[in-house]
């Protein structure tokens, strides 16, 4: 495995992405909307508290975590609302790479640049890892920057208990460790779709299906059917790493360079 060749492919993907305004716009739009939703909610509670709706959870509601029980009703409502949005922030690095990666191989085929690139000493795994990283790393950076902006914004717009509740270890661990891992799965899924079908729309539709389990999981969390705490999050980490290794192996394994070169028209 030659790391410099992987780096070249990743850089090429970024160069191409930087010059494609549509992709670049999409890259920034989703994180901006998420951050705006969270900070907008916090600003509304701070500057126009009379405009916001009734408290979601009144004082004295049984079963509340101590951090929430100790807040006043306004803070509690803000914390609960934004807690849901924080989950969406976590989803950014998962939803973006799949769309970018789903065009990675088809794009090469469309510009007929796959054959020249495969004629260099690059191996299939180097090419595909370079492409996955090209799709994943910008999404991770976008998510981390969004998280940082959110933390700074919440610090200034909300009370200290709300800040401590929202920027708690579970989200930070999730953002630093799990988001990148899920992003890799998402990127690899996109590359798999891109190397199995020869139509960009079909690849994007298949890739979108990859998001279904994730949306299902997020619904379970939001509905309170699954309770995520720090220890659960750490416990599932090795499983997600193993899943990553498996999907990377599968991505390389099912890349049929002969079929792509000779059958795709």
């Amino acid at each position: 495995m030659n790391l410099s060749r992987i780096r070249v492919i990743t850089r090429k993907e970024w160069l191409d992405m930087r010059k494609n305004k549509m992709v670049l716009g999409m890259m920034f739009l989703l994180p901006l909307v998420m951050v705006a939703m969270i900070l907008g909610t916090a600003a509304a509670f701070r500057y126009a508290p009379e405009q916001v709706s009734d408290p979601l959870v009144p004082d004295g509601t049984p079963g509340l975590p101590p951090a929430l029980a100790e807040m006043d009703t306004e803070d509690r409502t803000l914390a609960l609302l934004n807690d849901q949005y924080m989950f969406y922030l976590l989803i950014i690095p998962v939803s973006l790479p799949v769309y970018i990666a789903s065009y990675s191989i088809i794009g090469e085929k469309e510009t007929r640049s796959l054959e020249p690139i495969l004629a260099t000493p690059i191996s299939t795994s180097e090419l595909l890892i370079g492409k996955i990283l090209g799709a994943v790393l910008p999404a991770i950076v976008a998510a981390w920057v969004s998280y940082l902006l959110t933390a700074v914004g919440i610090y200034f717009l909300a009370s200290r208990p709300v800040f401590l509740y929202l920027i708690r270890p579970i989200w930070t661990i999730g953002m630093l460790i799990h988001s990148p891992l899920f992003a890799l799965i998402s990127g690899a899924g996109g590359v798999i779709a891109s190397s199995r079908v020869n139509d960009p729309r079909a690849a994007q539709q298949i890739s979108a299906l990859l998001l279904v389990p994730l949306i299902g999981a997020s619904l379970l969390v939001l509905m309170g059917r699954v309770y995520l705490d720090t220890s659960t999050l750490l416990w599932v980490t090795p499983i997600i790493i193993a899943l990553n290794a498996g999907i990377l192996w599968l991505t390389v394994r099912i890349f049929q360079r002969e079929t792509i070169l000779t059958r795709w028209r």
Partner: protein, 307 residues
């Protein structure tokens, strides 16, 4: 330099290349001719390790395909049928990527060298999507040469180019010959093959013939000269036919077509015999058979044999 032994490729029921054996010498420009679907591109893809053969093997620059694929790819340059450039990236960026993938030491220097050589330096920072077809093809050739490969595979380098751009590309290939590189040239353009190639192979799934263009012509038709006479008489035909070095004589409206093996040696004797017989020889020239004619006849022969 390039040696193939029984190379075959089957896609399902379709036998694309059947038992091709050939040897291309170092520094040689080797033409690969054949109709669409004859297996030219598939052969190039096998020799550049892009597809695996289903039979036989080959060695490129001393590396065997199938067991040293990365070394084979590092030692060859490939110009594919379409330039396959990244349209949004500039000329420098396009070449830089490939130079780095090949591990070129001085990437900016080598990129500059080839962009200058192919007269693209002034357009280096423009996205290549806006380049003309000829410029894109030149850039693709530069890309194939960045790592200074000893062997170069060119798949239809002048197809889809206007005559002027095609000429620029042909002249450049001619220059490369002077550098001692081995060039494997797939082409439909028979005139191009005739002008550029030291030897040509004609393929239609199987290899039909491999030889120099001149030998192909002579092997198929022999050599002949056309003698133009001021006045043609039937007796002259008999006198010429009786000469020991003449293989056949065909009367023409204003002279004779004489088939012989060595015009350089026998033309003076032929002229002497005609003058002695009272003929007024106006001029004499060797008849040229085009490679195109050879190609079509070989194809017809191959079709008949297959039928």
């Amino acid at each position: 330099m390039i040696r193939a032994k029984g190379l075959s490729k089957r896609f399902g029921d379709n036998l694309a290349v059947d038992d091709v054996s050939l040897e291309v010498r170092q520094g040689e420009v080797f033409g690969f001719l054949g109709p669409n679907g004859a297996g030219k591109t598939t052969t190039v893809r096998m020799l550049t390790t892009l597809v695996a053969p289903t039979g036989g093997t080959a060695w490129v620059n001393g590396h065997q395909i199938g067991s040293a694929d990365a070394q084979v790819r590092a030692s060859v340059g490939l110009l594919t049928e379409a330039p396959g450039l990244y349209p949004r990236l500039t000329a420098v960026e396009n070449l830089g990527i490939y130079a780095e993938l090949h591990g070129v030491e001085d990437v900016p220097g080598q990129v500059r060298r080839y962009l200058t050589l192919l007269e693209l330096w002034d357009r280096r920072d423009e996205p290549v999507g806006g380049f003309s077809k000829g410029m894109q093809q030149k850039l693709a050739i530069a890309r194939a040469l960045l790592h200074e490969p000893p062997a170069l595979f060119l798949d239809e380098p002048t197809a889809a180019l206007d005559p002027e751009a095609a000429r620029v590309v042909r002249d450049f290939v001619d220059e490369l010959r002077g550098e001692g590189r081995t060039i494997f040239l797939c082409t439909h353009n028979l005139d191009e093959a005739d002008r550029l190639c030291d030897r040509v192979a004609v393929i239609r799934q199987r290899l039909i013939r491999v030889d120099t263009p001149a030998n192909l012509r002579h092997g198929l038709y022999g050599r002949s000269v056309r003698v133009r006479l001021a006045k043609m008489t039937p007796a002259l035909e008999d006198i010429v036919a009786a000469l020991p070095f003449v293989r056949s004589v065909t009367p023409l409206e204003s002279g004779l077509r004489v088939a012989l093996d060595e015009p350089e040696t026998h033309n003076p004797d032929l002229v002497r015999a005609l003058v002695a017989a009272g003929a007024a020889v106006q001029y004499l020239e060797e008849e040229a058979h085009s490679l195109e004619q050879v190609y079509f006849d070989l194809m017809a022969e191959s079709r008949e044999a297959a039928a």
